[in-house]
Amino acid sequence: MNPAQGERAALVFLVLAAPLPWLVDSGTLVHFGIMVFQAATLGQAWNILGGMGGQFSFGHAAFFGAGAYTTAILQLRFGVDAWSGFFAAILAGAVVALVIGLASFRFGLRGSYFALVTLAFAEVLRILANTLEITGAGVGLLLPLAPGLERLQFADRRGYYLLALFLCAASLLVARAVAGSRLGARLVAVRENEEAASALGVDPFAVKMRAILLSGAMAASVGAFYVQYFLYLDPHIAFGPQVSVEALLGPIVGGPGTVAGPLAGAFLLQLLGEASRALAGGATGANLVVYGIVLILIVRFLPGGLAGLARARAERAGAGS
């Protein structure tokens, strides 16, 4: 399967998944779908910066949390409606991205240094959220439960399913557009060899800034979605390291730098999470052991992720014919 086929497969998957909750009456399935789309969108955000651009971030929780807190604070403290809050959250993600981008790319931070800076930013934001009164400090923020389209809350969970699916599809289309654009080509050039790209007239700083802005805004939309769905937020949920890990795990398993990778990875990981729980039965924590072992095997034997596997199969088939 080549990348274009992968993209088409991902889009077809989303189109086919859309009517599923109306065909199968299962709350478990709907929740599973929501979790997959949410993880896939967050993964796609990471993928644009980390996969395509090679700038590995360990702190995507900073964007996720900024988005989540922005919409929650605007709704609770300033009476702003949920839709405006949602768009403001996306903007807030971009603003945090601007700050992190300027603070790191401006000074030429790369590789592990960039990863550490992003990690530090997320931690600083977590501590701030834990201290400031406006974020509710350690107590967190709770949105009132009041279903209604104007409040972006759905009495029927399928509404959330469609919203998550829409965000996932939008992120996929954005990633596809980036991959096929000049920005995408420059990102790959910067990833492969920054000096060489620079010598060819690519401005690495401008390219990386664009990528992080896009990535931050996308990750923030996931944070805003999380708040609308669960209606509760605390510093650990918003800025905790598990969010950053979830953001990078999906694309790495699915195939970093590919458009379909984050969705494939998110689907596989969520499925693995569910399957390992079913397999482990009643033994406490055994599911996490199974999950960990399968993850190690994937990383060990599929360094290019699922996309790498698909590519290798296609090449073998090509060589065979």
Partner: protein
Amino acid sequence: MTTGDRSVREGWRRRALLATAASGAGLLAAPAVLRAQPAAVKIGLLHPVTGFLAFSGQQCREGALLAIESINATGGIRALGGAKLEPVLGDAQSKPEIGAAEVEKMNESGVAAIVGAYSSAISLATTQSAARYGIPHIVDVGVSDQIVGRGLTNTFRFCPGYGVITEIAIANLVALNEAAGKPARSVMIVHEESLFGTGTAQLLQKELPTRGFEVLEVVKHANPTRDFTNIVLKMKSLDPDLVIPANYYNEYVLLARTMRQQGVRPKGIYSVLGGAASSFKFVAEFPDDAAYIMDCNHWYDPRKPAALELRRKVEAKGLYYTYEVFLAHEAVRLLADALERAGSANRERIVEALATSDWDGHFLPYGPTRFVNGQNQGARPLNTQVLGRNIEVIFPREFATAQPVFPMPRA
């Protein structure tokens, strides 16, 4: 008619009578046999048994399972013909979204009600998910007051919330201090950074000065903290009469140990929902560090034999009798009582039964249950103190098993 004839006829009659009686008894007996095996009532037990809340989550699960075991052993739910309770176990993995996913699965497996979910953040997510399906949800621990009173008619909390606990803790501290001749005037608060530590510290900082205490210092620390040397050195220089820790188990133990190592001995250590202060684990492992520590926390009525019986059972299993165990245990029994009242495993009927429940068969110091907006109105904490390698109730008087030792002796 010969005698023989008569005897034959009588014999026939007797047989007929016996046969009729037997078949009648058979008819009566048949439903009794059916009634002896009514469908089990599925109960969802949803706790964070893995992840960073694993210890507390597992304790909750143990308590809830013990309750189900004893209910089943003593005849199940009588109003449902002796129906047994069947636990459906769920693991929230210490994450709200996984807790919500578990509620979906429990709904599909047909649970009549859910008991869980230990942490406030997880309980907020699970009660909301359960509300979509009208599943009655008893919150066993979760102290955040946001859990109840947000319009979810399916949500019930048996134990006290955070607001009530701190209010009572402050009132009892004042009473305790006055009874001892006001030995404590200055206070230092050491708290952890999340919901309960920060919230407690804020309330204490606001309330204590109005009650005649001087708050010398408020120190916040991260979770986890592995070294309290600096905080204790500061404590040494400030020399407060009273130290109020508000943190989780590990940090609490470490703080108490560091204080002892540095020779810091205030007149009292008084905590609110202290992570270790009323934990038998702490008392067993570090009796010298735990000695004389006072706490205002979830506790059982020490006068009730059932509470002590459960303690024996729990300790026989090699577990510690922590508040998670007895709160979850009693939450399940509250549900069983509601099933008896409802006479049905129908979710709506159980919700109704809980809302109007006036159950007093429990061993918590709450009195008969009365739920307003899902919160049990009589729920309250007790004050405990570690005395002679045991945890004794020192306040209020009607529950007290020992006199408070305050100020604590300077060893």
